[in-house]
């Protein structure tokens, strides 16, 4: 008899903060108290609130414990699970109820973080045990596959997906139904379904969480796609850096085979489908669809020219559908609830929901799924909890190294594919990095350029050499040696790289530079003309100065300084007893250790 479920997050975020050890300890403690038959421990996928990990939810009450430590386990067992008293001090603040009846907590779904979310792709993440196929079935899993195989023709399936308005969630935003229709129309004995799980954008982790939290959703969707286009073989290309995701997906594939949901004659029909995992070795370019296929074929991951498009000549030269993990995660829901249901969410041209990985200068770091068309302000201020430490929001970077940034004055624009593209930004896979007044936009552009220079495969010249030259120009500017002509030259170079590169990597690599030039040109000008970095990030352009009148002469900065460049002066400020200090700037390495240590705010960056 089970009367209570304890859900522990087994996503990568919480695992690295120790959730596995918590589970083991909890199991021990339950046994000790003799209630291990009454309380069931369930390891789930990501809840989304990664900043608060390890996360634990106790049902039926739905009590949400955050940042649980090993020492807390005996108390939770003794107090909550045995005696029914919620351990108040561990409860996530947002769910605390101020009313008298303290034991009734607000539901997690009512908190600011979850209220505006609409979980379609993530519907099972944090709810089911991803290693148990039965739990997936209990949440209507594989019912969509049964429906298409026994009650729908392939054309009807494609029409449903087309009508839903679903577009590729990997970044490009190509209509999924059309991709399937093209591939179905290609005549060939062999066709393939490929899932792109080579999530490489810095700061993006939605595909990982989906694979870890709901792997069967992917398997079911790929089988549905196989039926629709006439394929019997699928491949999931996933990064080897995602060990938990790989393990759970393999387990899920094995379970599906055991149940006959993969393999020959599924549900007693003529349809057969099986799939395999292929591990990527971590090259960013392998997230590009043609490079990914080349890599699966066993060759060096380099892109090939399109056309021919994969729908005509893809993997092993055969017609292939390649979709992103999140795209597939929507499929079964569309089949079960209908295209109209899906199309009722979102904006006119961007239907459904989108998962974003919030990171950077934001309170609630984590994973959120929102209907298309809500504003950036809602995402950052309401769901994300705003920028911490009272700092001012400057911009949100989306789309990783291929994307641009949304500045503060455009925060009320509705987030969808077309609006983002119109601002020179990109939906991308959904990484969203929040920046505040302390971030330098030139430095940010440089960071992403360094990434693309590293990750360029080198096959085509505009990307291999162009990005390198672009980075050198950025370097020059951040060193304070740039000229106004350099800015013009950069823009020209950006446009050449965009127009002439072979694949998406090169075509989008200049985006971070172009977007920052568009919205933060004044920062570039400040670097070039005034030789100043307004955010105080670019070391060459920053001087640290001690305000002689504020300095009380404690000498802490001099102790902290790694290069002994802070010395005592003869000056004693009015009202102080000790002589103040000053920085000999010639030797200063601009590490900032003095600023961090000063309790009197006497040191500033200029």
């Amino acid at each position: 008899m089970i009367r209570s479920h304890v859900l522990i997050c087994g996503g990568t975020g919480c695992t690295s903060s120790g959730s596995i050890a918590l589970r083991d300890l909890l199991a021990e403690e339950l046994k000790l108290k003799g209630i291990d038959e009454e309380v069931k421990i369930v390891m789930t996928g990501c809840f989304g609130l990664c900043a608060l990990g390890p996360i634990m939810i106790v049902y039926p009450e739905g009590t949400f414990y955050s940042m649980v430590q090993k020492e807390d386990i005996p108390e939770i067992v003794e107090e909550h699970l045995l005696k029914g008293r919620v351990v108040e001090r561990l409860v996530y603040n947002e769910t605390k109820n101020n009313e008298e009846k303290k034991e009734v907590h607000a539901s997690l779904n009512d908190t600011a973080f979850y209220k505006k979310q609409k979980r379609v792709a993530l519907r099972n993440c944090g709810v089911i045990n991803p290693e148990d196929i039965d739990e997936y079935i209990a949440r209507d899993g594989y019912f969509a596959l049964e429906k298409v195989l026994t009650k729908m023709t392939p054309d009807e399936v494609i029409k449903e997906i087309l009508d839903s308005g679903l577009r590729g969630r990997g970044g490009g935003g190509f209509p999924t139904g059309r991709k399937w229709a093209f591939t179905k129309a290609s005549v060939s004995e062999k066709k393939y379904v490929v899932c792109n799980a080579d999530e490489g954008d810095p700061g993006a982790f939605m595909d990982r969480s989906l694979l870890e939290g709901d792997p069967h959703a992917l398997i079911e969707a790929m089988a549905i796609c196989g039926y629709a286009i006439g394929s019997d073989q699928g491949y999931v290309y996933v990064r080897a850096e995602y060990p938990i995701a790989v393990k759970r997906l393999q387990l899920a594939i094995d379970q599906a085979r055991e149940y006959g949901l993969l393999g020959k004659n599924i549900f007693g029909t003529d349809f057969s489908f099986d799939m395999e995992i292929r591990l990527g070795a971590g090259a960013f370019v392998c997230g590009e669809e043609t490079a990914l296929m080349t890599s699966i074929e066993g060759n060096r991951g380099e892109p090939r020219p399109r056309p021919p498009f994969p729908a005509v000549k893809g993997l092993f030269g055969k017609p292939t559908v390649e979709n992103n993990v999140e795209t597939f995660a929507n499929i079964a829901q569309i089949i079960l609830n209908g295209a109209e249901w899906f199309a009722s969410m979102g904006t006119e041209k961007s239907k459904g929901t989108k998962v974003f990985a919030l990171g950077g200068k934001i309170k609630n770091t984590g994973l959120v799924e929102i209907p298309m068309g809500i504003t950036l302000r809602e995402i950052i201020d309401e769901i994300g909890g705003g920028v911490p430490n009272g700092k001012k929001f400057k911009a949100a970077q989306t789309g990783g190294p291929s994307g641009g940034c949304i500045p503060a004055h455009l925060m009320d624009v509705e987030v969808d594919y077309d609006n983002l593209t119109a601002m020179g930004c990109m939906m991308g896979s959904g990484g969203m990095i929040v920046m505040d007044e302390d971030n330098c936009m030139v430095d940010m552009a440089k960071f992403f350029l360094e990434f693309t220079v590293d990750e360029s495969c080198g096959k085509c010249t505009p990307c291999r050499i162009g990005t390198k030259r672009l980075l050198e120009l950025l370097d020059k500017i951040t060193m304070g040696e740039g000229t106004l002509e350099d800015i013009d030259r950069m823009e020209e170079l950006c446009n050449y790289i965009k127009a002439n590169s072979l694949c998406g990597l090169g075509q989008t690599a200049p985006n971070p530079v172009l977007a920052t030039l568009k919205f933060f040109r004044d920062e570039y000008i400040a670097h070039v003309v005034d030789k100043k970095c307004p955010a105080g990030v670019c070391k060459k352009l920053v001087t640290f100065v001690i305000d002689q009148d504020k300095c009380i002469g404690c000498g802490k900065c001099a102790k902290n300084c790694p290069v002994d460049t802070i010395v005592k002066t003869d000056y004693i400020a009015p009202g102080h007893k000790l002589a103040s200090y000053k920085i000999e700037t010639a030797k200063c390495v601009k590490c900032g250790a003095c600023v961090d240590g000063c309790k009197f705010n006497a040191i500033s960056k200029q």
Binding site: Y59, P60, G84, A138, Y142, L261
Partner: protein, 122 residues
């Protein structure tokens, strides 16, 4: 796996288990499980409610949960049933009484007056 029926069978089998996490139940049965309650035998009462509700297939509408000491230790095991705005407090419960409460109150809508605190304090 050859048919929809098999899929449905697995779903039904698992339903009780997963419902615990997703139910939006309107009725709550709260069993006092502080030291006093446990000493007076609240555990079998809680067990009887959990089993009874699952057997009756009411997992979607009713959640069984526990709470701490309500302050009337001499009447333990105490069980409170919340239905909408209405609250009924049952005292000196047992597993058998729990079954009766499920039958008459939860299913039938008739409060079992003789076990309520009002009756006991008369």
């Amino acid at each position: 796996m050859k048919s929809l029926e098999e899929l449905k069978a697995i779903k039904a089998k698992m339903q009780d288990k997963v419902n615990l996490r997703t139910s939006s139940a309107q009725t709550r049965i709260v069993v006092g499980m502080a030291t006093c309650g446990i000493a007076a035998g609240a555990r079998p009462v809680l067990g009887a409610f959990v089993e009874g509700i699952n057997e009756a297939g009411l997992g979607d509408e009713v959640i069984v949960t526990q709470t701490g000491c309500i302050g009337i230790c001499q009447y333990e095991p105490v069980v409170e049933v919340y239905k909408g705005d209405e609250k009924v407090t049952y005292v000196k419960m047992s597993a058998d009484r729990a079954k009766e409460v499920i039958e008459k109150h939860i299913k039938g809508g008739q409060v079992v007056a003789e076990y309520t605190i009002g009756e006991a304090t008369k």
